[in-house]
């Protein structure tokens, strides 16, 4: 059974802020004490660099580092040598875009994206468009940010080399039919890159079943530490991808005539000292999530979101943009109140939400507003918090939003 009361006891941030409602999990999540203790342990008892292996501490650090790579692979049903550690989700996508641009992509090739994408899945491709003449085209989405298989098929043509989309939108929670889109991509000789930052933390992920070529996500959005991104890539693509960073740990040998031979495994993309403690922490957070069960987490969140959505629909002072989506954030505006002003009122009531465009700066072309309030949940949130949120939402108006300053 999914006992949210017990689960909440694992999170010091919840214990230390008993009156706070934290609905900004799309930005980052709280950390369970099991993960924090693992990072602490590294600092207190286990500090050492990796890939040295000449003494016991270093052997231990290597083991924890390698264990995490194995565990991460298990978590998404990948092979261990298909998992690269980067510094965040953005770092992962930049590695893919840059890496492919040096070998796989050429002038006139097309990257298919959508208007709901986060900056991290647009700007790396935009740069290729500026620098290499690679073209960006958009898959149409409906008002809830969802694309249909038929629309994707219509967008395919000979020049399309890459489809790069988020499995779940960070603003609208739109879930895309990734498995079918991957199949369309492959039928047309293209590859698919999936930004999983908002989906991997919330539901089971099986890269073999989805048959995606690349998947990226971020440790801190799934109970892990900051500064760790994950890049999954099919082995056959890894060797075509040029690393962004060169340096120690990723080369096999080099000589004064500038020749260099790079390693062939994931280490090829992990130049320099990695975020060892962060990666060890990621291992613990994955263990924590697997113990709760990703299927259970998904079911619990789906029910909570559905409850939240039904309560939001009772209100007549809000514009609710994504009532039909089953997952992800609740995204809305309070009528006649600018999003930041409303967020200021929530903050005043000890509720953390995010206002703005959430880095999806071309999404306004779909929902006709620049700025929204995003309330994003995780498995430790409760119906009681939703109820309190609804009561506060009823009070949001211009007068109260300005009133917080007096």
């Amino acid at each position: 059974m999914f006992d949210v009361k017990e689960i909440r006891k694992d999170f010091p941030m919840i214990q230390n802020h008993p009156d706070l409602i934290y609905f900004d999990n799309g930005a980052t999540t709280f950390k369970p004490k099991q993960m924090i203790e693992a990072v602490d342990y590294f600092y207190l008892f286990g500090t050492s660099n990796v890939h040295r292996g000449d003494y016991e501490l270093s052997i231990q650090a290597d083991k924890l580092y390698d264990d995490t790579r194995r565990l991460t692979a298990t978590f998404i049903n990948a092979d261990t040598d298909e998992i690269i550690f980067t510094h965040n989700d953005t770092g992962s996508i930049n590695q893919i875009a840059y890496g492919l641009s040096r070998s796989f992509l050429k002038e006139g090739d097309v990257i298919l994206v959508s208007q709901v994408e986060h900056a991290s899945n647009l700007l790396p491709w935009f740069r290729l468009s500026h620098d290499l003449g690679i073209k960006i085209e958009y898959i149409p989405v409906n008002k809830q940010g969802v694309m249909t298989v038929e629309e994707v098929k219509k967008c395919m043509h000979k020049k399309v080399k890459v489809i790069s989309i988020a499995s779940t939108s960070n603003v609208l929670g739109s879930e895309q039919p990734i498995k079918q889109i991957a199949s369309i991509a492959h039928d047309n000789g293209a590859i698919i890159v999936v930004d999983g930052a908002q989906s991997v933390p919330h539901k089971p992920t099986d890269v073999k079943d989805l048959d995606v070529d690349f998947l990226t996500f971020s440790a801190h959005k799934m109970c892990g530490p900051g500064g760790v991104g994950i890049l999954y890539g099919k082995k056959k693509h890894m060797m075509h991808m040029e690393p962004v960073f060169l340096g120690g740990g990723m080369n096999a040998r080099f000589a004064s005539d500038t020749s260099m031979i790079l390693k062939e495994g994931p280490e090829r993309f992990e130049a320099g000292t990695p975020n060892i403690e962060g990666i060890i922490g990621l291992g613990k957070s994955i263990q924590y999530l697997m113990k709760l069960g990703m299927e259970n987490i998904h079911e619990y969140e789906k029910e909570l979101r559905s409850y939240f959505a039904s309560r939001m629909k009772e209100l007549d002072n809000v514009i609710f943009y994504n009532p039909e989506n089953e997952s992800g954030a609740i995204t809305f505006n309070v009528k006649d109140v600018f999003a930041q002003d409303a967020a200021g009122y929530y903050a005043h009531k000890n509720i953390a939400v995010r206002s703005g465009n959430h880095c999806a700066k071309i999404l306004h072309e779909i929902i006709q507003t620049d700025s929204t309030i995003r309330a994003s949940l995780y498995f430790y949130n409760t119906k009681e918090e939703v109820d309190r949120f609804i009561e506060v939402t009823k009070e949001v108006n211009l007068e109260n939003a300005v009133g917080i300053f007096f």
Binding site: F338, A339, Q340, D341, G344, A347, S355, G356, N357, C359, K361, D370, S371, L398, E399, A401, V402, G403, I404, F405, F406
Partner: protein, 150 residues
């Protein structure tokens, strides 16, 4: 009640902000010649305003603004236009300095700032300070560029 007493009543200050937000003063841009212009788009992700001013013989003849902005941005910029139009550049700079003192939570002269004292508590929400200063930063930059041209 005297003018200053009115401006210490929280209800009145709140009404002032709401009023300047709903009905901002000098809230339209012009194509007319002789205006300096500053686009403020990089201070935050959302607030995106443009401020124009016309300065002749060292006197601010006009200030205008428009754009997408929250209550605090809109009201603070609207109040700024009221305060600075008709002032010399030197007088305006002194008022701007006083305003920034208030926004930083330091001592300031209420007499100088008049209605803009409504923004006196914004410093308590640090993330809102950039909204209370966006229009003021714009006019300050415009006055400096005018001064450097003289």
């Amino acid at each position: 009640m005297s003018h200053q007493n009115l401006l210490s009543d929280p209800d009145i200050l709140r009404e002032l902000i709401m009023d300047h937000y709903k009905y901002p003063h000098h809230h339209s841009l012009t194509e007319e010649n002789g205006y300096l212009q500053k686009h403020m788009a990089s201070e935050s992700c959302i607030d995106d305003i443009t401020v124009q001013t016309k300065i002749e013989d060292g006197i601010i003849q006009d200030i205008r603004f428009d754009g997408v902005a929250c209550t605090i941005s809109t009201a603070s910029t609207s109040m700024m236009t009221d305060l600075l139009i008709g002032k010399t550049i030197e007088e305006a700079k002194a008022i701007i300095d006083e305003y920034f003192m208030m926004i930083d939570g330091k001592e300031y002269d209420e007499e100088v700032l008049q209605e803009a004292v409504a923004m006196k508590n914004v410093y308590k929400q640090a993330n809102r300070i950039k909204y209370a200063t966006i229009g003021w930063n714009a006019i300050q930059a415009l006055l400096e560029s005018e001064a450097s041209h003289e």
